[in-house]
């Protein structure tokens, strides 16, 4: 049995070696992507461009403007002199929001009346719009327009564990490894069986003494190894270039990483047994992993804020489990006692998919 698997694996290695450009792309592209997206994916808004229309030109409006200018969050892009100009700028997307001071703004504050203040917000980007609105409200209401004593009754003493400086890259970069590995693994294996069908070599396989399960395992093994190398490379890049901390055990991560790769490769394998051509297999593999592992994995978008049904679906997304594993080991430094449920989930996932693939493959085999 071992020898059958090994023969199969050797045959697959010959295939891999015959296409050195694929191998070059396989190692090069992920590194370029790691370099680009660690900083590109940034959730904290900064320097949001806003406009100001000041019809007041007195100390109170200047005080608010000064506060807006002083915050990291906003950048005053321009001072406008008419409502039409403001409207036009928002329409063209030059600014995301505008503050309009009425002519009697300072006057009313001096008289201890509460003046109106118009805020215009571009809501077309719902997520950003919401944050911009909250930010503007905060600046406007916390600006001091007179002396105000504030009694300190109790204080909050925040402590941030695992990532004390709350660096975004520490959160994003391990996630990138998980997400990219998933897609790479799928592209790698999705062609293996489809290629045999397309080029007509399935018949030869059928004549060989190897059993379907052996063929499948023999095909998966070399790619597991290859994907493991790519993963290691990405991890090293994360440690050296982004200086992401590594608190936990490297051996544990390696071991659990293999479980994840098996799950990821089994998706490609399944696509390969379903599809008749490489094109369909790869497209199906990518389609099935690209958006789910970016969106439904907790990579960036908080799963808890999603509708229930999507939260349930997220339980069959392998990337979700590996994200918890890689962030847990790298940032929290936790051990297997906190991660065993994730590993079990990954292994069950891989086993089920490999089983289905084998059954499907055996059926195609017999014809």
């Amino acid at each position: 049995m071992i020898s059958n698997i090994w023969t199969m694996a050797r045959k697959e290695i010959i295939h891999i070696r015959r296409d050195p450009r694929s191998i070059a792309l396989l190692f090069l592209l992920p590194l370029i992507m790691m370099m680009l997206y660690g900083y590109a994916i940034n959730m904290d808004l900064k320097d949001v461009r806003i406009g100001v229309l000041d019809q007041d030109h007195a100390w109170a409006s200047r005080e608010v403007t000064r506060h807006l200018q002083g915050s990291d969050f906003f950048r005053i892009h321009r001072y406008y002199d008419s409502r039409e100009a403001v409207r036009d700028a928002i329409q063209r997307g030059v600014i995301r929001a505008a503050v309009i001071f009425p002519a009697d703004f300072t006057l009313k504050i001096g008289r201890n009346q509460s003046p109106d203040l118009q805020l215009l917000i571009d809501g077309s980007d719902a997520n950003t719009g919401k944050i911009v609105e909250a930010g503007l409200l905060q600046v406007v209401t916390t600006t001091r327009y007179g002396p105000a004593p504030s009694p300190v009754l109790f204080r909050l003493e925040p402590r941030v564990w695992y990532n004390p400086e709350m660096k975004g890259v520490n959160f994003i970069v391990p996630g990138l490894i998980a997400v990219f590995l998933m897609m790479i693994a799928t592209i790698l294996t999705s062609i293996t069986i489809a290629r045999e069908k397309e080029t007509g070599t399935m018949i030869q396989l059928r004549l060989s003494p190897a059993k379907p399960l052996h063929i499948i395992l023999g095909k998966v093994l070399p790619y597991t190894f290859l994907a493991f190398l790519v993963g290691t490379l990405m991890l090293l890049f994360a440690l050296v270039y982004y200086r992401v901390p590594f608190q936990g055990s490297a051996f544990l991560l390696a071991g659990l990483g293999i479980a994840y790769l098996l799950a990821a490769l089994s998706i490609g394998l399944l696509a390969s047994t379903i599809a008749r051509t490489q094109q369909v297999a790869m497209a199906a593999g990518l389609l099935g992993t690209l958006l789910p592992s970016i969106i439904l994995s907790g990579f960036i978008f908080p799963l808890r804020s999603m509708p229930r049904i999507l939260q349930w679906i997220s339980y069959i997304i392998p990337a979700k489990y590996f994200l918890e594993i890689i962030r847990g080991i790298m940032l929290k430094g936790v051990g297997i006692q906190h991660l065993w449920t994730q590993v079990v989930a990954l292994l069950i996932f891989a086993a089920v998919l490999i089983f289905i693939s084998t059954v499907r493959f055996r059926r195609q085999f017999k014809i």
């Binding site: 592209l29 997206y37 904290d44 504050i109 077309s124 109790f154 908080p302 999603m306 962030r327 940032l331």
Partner: protein
Amino acid sequence: MKARLLPLIKKEFIQIFRTKPMLGFIFVAPVIQTLLMGYAVTTEVTRLPTIICDEEHSRYSRELIQILRQTEYFDVVELTSEYPRVRWALDEGTAAVGIIVPPDLTRQLRTGLSPAIQVVLDGSNSNTAMVALGYLQRIAAGYARQLGVEYTNDFVTYRTASPPVTPTPAPRVWYNPNFVNAYFMVPAIIGLILAFSTMILTAISIVREREVGTLEQLMVSPLKSYQIMLGKIIPFALLGFVEISIVLVLGKFYFQIPMRGSFALLFFVSLLMLLTTLGLGLFVSTVTQTQQQSMFMAWFILIFTILMSGFFFPIENMPSWLQRLSYLDPLRYYIFCLRGIFLKGAGIRDLLPQIGALALYGVGIISFASLRFQKRMK
């Protein structure tokens, strides 16, 4: 010329529709993707699992828990009186926030010592941690104010000036007053689907013909090389338009997204985008030899177009070198146009720079790629 091109297009369609999964990609995938995007992509942080460590069980901690429970931001998953439980819960990931109430809170409050309530945040998700801290500070300030009023009448005395006036802000949200997520995501998904299906499928289908050797058969036919190219491109362009229509119908009737601009303009910019994605697909096919190579290249370009386009995250957040790089992303211009046309009713005048850039990109890449393609054919 038409007489030669038509059979070629027909052949391509036969090839596309011969495989059943392909029908799935073209007709079902856009629907699923649109639904997924419409509902799932939210950066809002809600229902944060929170563990509260409280030994005293005083009135104050009860009130604080009550307030936390009333907001949608926090979800109190565990009440404990043992500090190590907090560590365990955060390590395990069952809680993202820990609030530790000091054991002598009441005494400290009454003696005016201004006690510290410790807040522990799981920084491994830096985004959530930051937002959670903001929420907590706001809630704490509110609670302090509430207590402060009471305390003035009670045992702590301090001077109060007349409360300062603050302006009454009147926020007006344009285009999407209720901040509906789908309004923003669904127009963008059109761009994503175009990039996905037209670019990847074109690239692979050409490389496949080369790999299998049928491209050579086409070359020895009386067809000119540009005809072969058009025969490869036109079917996918048509499919692209079918997919746009599917998403449009879904967006309009299911998500009820307002369409404030002109359909003509929408189709015009979509045509430009199609030129770009087809051009990219063609380009990928000229620099790769096997289907797997072209898949890797197409994947790389696809991720670039998605992540650098402002699709999920505003481009302003990126460091400046990446912002400059994002000008290379055709999806950036296309999504800007789509969102503008849909939600703002933007016209050609508002979108001129974007449309210009997209046109330049589309025409440029398709001519460059077809030159390369024709050279390789010879």
